[in-house]
């Protein structure tokens, strides 16, 4: 079994979804999460608050500094993710298709390093 991260990236400046669209997405994502659990593919997942809520911690020569803001000042920011477990990339891509449809955003699929 392989593990994959399915990440959802929000693009800065993209039109903000309406409340109604958000509610639809939440309901659809709930449904997918249940499907993932039933199929035994669910490992973990969730949505993140906006990047302005982020804090970065760095350790340099033994001293720790804490700074405000996301790690990278890019237009695309991680909005949420799933970690799933399945046989191969085709299965992961099939789940990613369902997830992208449910959350109404593109989904990036990345394999985890093997555990052994």
């Amino acid at each position: 079994m392989k593990q994959y991260m399915l990440s959802v990236h929000s693009v800065e400046g993209a039109p903000t979804p309406t409340d109604e669209e958000m509610q639809t997405a939440f309901a659809q994502v709930d449904k997918i999460n249940n499907e993932l659990r039933t199929a035994g593919a669910w490992v973990f997942g969730g949505g993140l608050l906006p990047p302005d809520s982020a804090t970065v911690v760095r350790v340099d020569s033994g001293s720790t500094t804490v700074t405000d803001g996301p790690f990278a000042e890019t237009k695309e920011q991680l909005g949420g993710f799933w970690v799933i477990r399945c046989e191969d990339l085709d299965q992961a891509l099939a789940w990613a298709g369902k997830c992208a449809q449910a959350c109404m955003n593109p989904v990036e699929v990345r394999p985890f390093q093997d555990e052994d």
Binding site: K2, E87, D88, L89, D90, L93, V109, R110, P111, D116
Partner: protein
Amino acid sequence: MDLTGIYRAEYGRCVATLVRLLGDIGLAEEAVQDAFAVALQKWDVPPPNPGAWIVTTARNRAIDRLRRESTREARHAEALLLHQPDEPKEVGPVYDDQLRLIFTCCHPALAPLAQTALTLRLLGGLEVPEIARAYLVPEATVAQRIVRAKKKIRDAAIPYRVPAAEELPARLPPVLTVLYLIFNEGYTSTSGALLRTDLCLEAIRLARELAALMPDEPEVLGLLALLLLIEARRPARVGPAGELVTLADQDRSLWHRELIDEGHALVRRCLRGNRPGPYQIQAAINAVHTDGPATDWAQVLALYDQLLRHAPTPVVALNRAVAVAEVHGPALALATLESVDLPGYHLLPATRAELLARLGRDAEARAAYDEAIALATNDTERAFLQTRRSRLAL
């Protein structure tokens, strides 16, 4: 002994089977190369079934190699190899393996150039320098793309299997595109000499294999028919001085009759199947071009109308305009080109130039030829356009 011929014919099949046995593309390639090296030493005459000999030898070599290496992964691979259930004594290439490998090489998760390079390397047995020469890119680039693609196949666990029937509509088109691109690159290479026969023959060989493996997929048959019917005209396409000869001026007695007959038979089979698609329609257009002493342009135009419905692309619209000119005259053809936008593609201004010349609008034709000549990257095509331009009145 024709070891080169055997190598070309058997390499891809053997690698494909070894990938299944070993679960790793790199190991499979090494094992098959080892086995061919042994064959070179041992064969005075090839055995009756050279593919089976290569697979058996490669498998034994792989076991030896894995035994020398003591990593956990290697032991796991060895265990896999030694416990193939219900295995016959002599293992030959399994045709389904080759199909699996085509779908792995052309997986949509790989970049198009990587798909092509990997297909030529693993299924065609072409060496990296050959692929680099064919695509006029540095060897290091090709090598890097292949290494990266193999790494992604392993890391992301791109599966080694034939897609299920319901997945085929999404998974077959990239395979057909790769074979078509290989052929096309050989037929009108992006620069330098016009014909690179090897790539055309390799694309046809792979298309034949694919058609044998998937005889019920009409688009696979359509692609094979298309390639055969284009290839059949090759001997007449270039004149004695290496110049390009247009379809209308070609000496039809030079065409490959056998390839045309085979192509026509495939097109008839597609028509009977009645599940048309872009490759089948293009094959049908080429069947009309190669049927009888002259092209029936009304039929060609009807087929282009159908093709435009299946594949509404600017290139199809451009090719359709040529048929419009033959049936309804150059003025109407020129009008249909007004809405066609193909930035950087030399055949659009070249076609406009031909139509303008036929309408006697020489000054505009000259400007269009100049535009086409500036965009053409192929020496032979550029020379052809210059000749046409020189025929215009001053």
